[in-house]
């Protein structure tokens, strides 16, 4: 198992190098200049411009700049934001828990609803229930996030007034950040009202962000279940006289999960990407909103640093998924 882990880990190295190149060049390919943007409408003198450019190190060749970035990265230093002058790492880490909390909530929502829906659709295949579940999930999958989010806000926040429109918690509460997770921190502080308020704020963005993963998980679960249901060993399980529930939930689902877990892992990358839109709609103070701001200001260090960190997290999650295979499927473990 440990050797398996090391092999998988070493396979990540070339991917990671590729990510750094893409992240570094991506923001520089965009038209626009951070110094000119900083100067704003009043403009800037040529001498001052050259001075700032050399101060920020942008006058050196791209190759030198790239290796400088790489060197800093290996030391855990992503440079300072051009806008706030704070280290990019700190900026990222202070916002990441908000995004993680939202993504985990969305993923939990997607799995809790999507997995049983997929199993149910497979068991009732060809029936009305199957068609309804698959129809709804296709609709959910095709829905543009920003539009879906606005629709839900209009219905639940404006018309019905059930959920708040934006933010992580009501202004009434101030919670000292410990983990960065508003729900956990409010529980740690023992403030029940704050906990409910933070949960209340999570629901709508969580549903919006979780909709596409939910649809993907439901569809994948269904097709994977249908495939496994036709296997000989499922017939053997029935021949043992086991209850239908046990045949489905133990003998079939366990094998079907192997491909579902892959898809869930892939959704994590999608969640972080989707979070950018969802956070913008719901003014959620996470890395999505931060990245959008950084891109619009051409804050090179923040953008490249943020991209590399997000890619790194996605890679780690996929590594964990690979390890999860080993737990589920003994053929990989041995």
């Amino acid at each position: 198992m440990f050797k398996f882990f090391l092999v998988k880990l070493s396979q990540l190295v070339p991917t990671f190098i590729g990510v750094t190149i893409v992240a570094f060049s991506f923001i520089r390919l965009l038209p626009g200049d951070p110094i000119l943007l900083m100067a704003g409408e009043r403009g800037i003198s040529a001498e001052r411009y050259a001075q700032l450019k050399s101060q920020m190190g942008f006058d050196r060749s791209l190759v030198v700049q790239y290796f400088d970035f790489l060197k800093g990265l290996l030391h855990g230093d992503l440079g300072n934001s051009l806008v706030t002058h704070a280290p990019v790492m700190n900026e990222f880490l202070s916002r990441f828990p908000a995004t993680l909390e939202l993504s985990l909530f969305a993923l939990t929502f997607a799995v809790i609803i999507g997995l049983p829906a997929g199993v149910l659709a497979a068991v009732k295949r060809g029936k009305t229930l199957d068609h309804s579940i698959m129809g709804i999930s296709l609709t959910g999958y095709s829905m543009p996030i920003f539009w879906w989010g606005l629709l839900l806000i209009m219905l639940f926040s404006s018309t019905l007034g059930w959920t708040p429109v934006s933010g992580r918690i009501s202004f009434l509460y101030f919670i000292e950040p410990v983990t960065g997770f508003m729900t956990i921190d409010s529980l740690l502080a023992g403030d029940w009202g704050a906990f409910l308020s933070s949960l209340h704020h999570l629901i709508l963005p969580g549903i919006v962000l979780g909709t596409i993963p939910l649809a993907v998980i439901a569809r994948q679960t269904r097709s994977s279940m249908l495939e496994v249901l036709g296997e000989d060993y499922v017939r053997s399980a029935r021949a043992k006289g086991l209850s239908n529930f046990r045949v489905i939930m133990v003998h079939t689902l366990r094998n079907a999960l192997i491909s579902v877990v892959t898809v869930i892992g892939l959704q994590v990358g999608l969640l972080l990407a989707g979070a950018i839109l969802t956070e913008t709609i719901f003014s959620w103070p996470g890395i999505g909103k931060w990245m959008i701001d950084a891109i619009s200001r051409r804050d090179y260090p923040s953008v490249q640093g943020g991209l590399v960190l997000i890619a790194f997290i996605v890679m780690i999650v996929n590594l964990l998924v690979d390890l999860a295979y080993g737990v589920i499927n003994p053929r990989i473990r041995h």
Partner: protein, 357 residues
């Protein structure tokens, strides 16, 4: 009272082009401790009829029967819960593909344990002891180590032994073996058959062996059912079946045995294949491949004569002392009955399909 009493069993599958009768009007009557064999080519509906008995067919199958009783209990009337108590417990089954019949996610021990827990119960320790004992009974070396193995770590023969151990774990009174040796090496085949027969003798359970190999039938069964294209064409004791096959299909199967081919260079074969859903002929289903077929065979579906103990589904059963000799079978009656295909009977009136040497 027979242990397994099935009359008029039919299985139809819903397909996109309508219902397909995979099994029609099959009777089987198995008494306690008897060894039966169901024989026929692929597509004869052998497995389907037994899967229907076990209740293991997919939802597209419609199973009907005039009678379907196990030990006096009407299987069609039982609730699914009551039926599950019989399936796996008193009546169990092993399958053709041992490698894919075990769940890859669980150890051998877990899978045997699950079955014992379902039907016999007992403490964890008792069940573990029983599983070890069963593995030893089916000839698996070092059961204490093998019980922790996953299916992918076992060979085909070992997997089938595990399947057998599982099938007999709850002391069934009937074991159905669906081509248990087809997927295995020839050397292993004999071992598995021997094992099944030994267990049958030791425990006194009844055994139904589904096979397409007449050689296996000769070595194992006491009673034989011959199926063709979903129909039961003949039912006899093994001795009289081999000595006096009544249906031309049985005769053709027997003459394909190497032992019966005599000194021919090549074994006789039956031309053509079992008809599927779309190419079922009119009249007798076997007529396109039958060397004795007449115009009558091509037009009228045969029914078994009421006085025929073998209930042969043929207009002109072979070697029948009571019935008159059919025009086409007359010539073959002259040659020795066990080897009619190797002789060359003069051509009867209707042209016969060619029997390749």
């Amino acid at each position: 009272m027979a242990l397994l009493d099935i009359e008029g069993l039919s299985v139809r599958f819903k397909t996109s082009s309508g219902l397909f009768a995979a099994v029609e009007d099959v009777d089987i009557n198995v008494d306690r401790g008897e060894v039966w064999s169901i024989v026929g080519e692929s597509g004869s509906g052998k497995s389907v009829s037994m899967l229907a008995t076990m209740g293991l067919l997919p939802w597209t199958a419609q199973v009907t029967a005039d009678k379907m009783a196990f030990d006096g209990q009407d299987l069609q009337q039982l609730s699914s819960r009551q039926r599950r108590r019989i399936v796996g417990g008193e009546m169990s089954m092993i399958f053709q593909e041992p490698m894919s019949s075990l769940n890859p996610c669980f150890t051998v021990g877990t899978q045997i344990d699950e079955m014992i827990k379902q039907h016999l119960g007992g403490s964890r320790r008792e069940r573990h002891e029983r599983a070890l004992d069963l593995l030893a009974q089916v000839g698996i070396p070092d059961p204490a180590r093998r019980i922790k193995a996953y299916p992918h770590q076992l060979s085909g023969g070992m997997s089938q032994r595990v399947m057998i151990a599982m099938a007999i774990s709850c002391n069934p009174r009937l074991l159905i073996a669906d081509e248990p040796t087809t997927a295995l090496d020839v050397t292993i085949q004999a071992q598995i058959l021997e094992l099944l027969l030994r267990l049958q003798e030791d425990t006194g359970m009844a055994l139904i062996l589904i096979t397409h190999d007449m050689g296996v039938v000769a070595e194992t069964a006491k009673h034989v059912v011959v199926q063709y294209a979903g129909r039961q064409v003949e039912k006899q004791d093994v001795k009289s079946l081999f000595a006096h096959p009544r249906h031309p299909y049985t005769e053709a199967l027997l003459s394909a045995l190497p032992e019966r081919a005599g000194d021919q260079d090549r074994l006789p074969t039956i031309p053509g294949v079992v008809p599927g859903q779309h190419d079922r002929p009119s009249g007798c289903l076997f007529n396109p491949r039958c060397q004795y077929a007449t115009e009558h065979c091509r037009e009228v579906e045969p029914v078994a004569a009421p006085d025929d103990p073998a209930s042969t589904l043929c207009h002109y059963p072979l070697d029948h002392p009571a019935a008159g000799t059919p025009p086409s079978a007359a010539s073959s009656q002259d040659s020795p009955p066990q080897d009619p295909l190797s002789s060359n009977p003069p051509s009867p009136n209707p042209p016969r399909p060619e029997v390749r040497p």
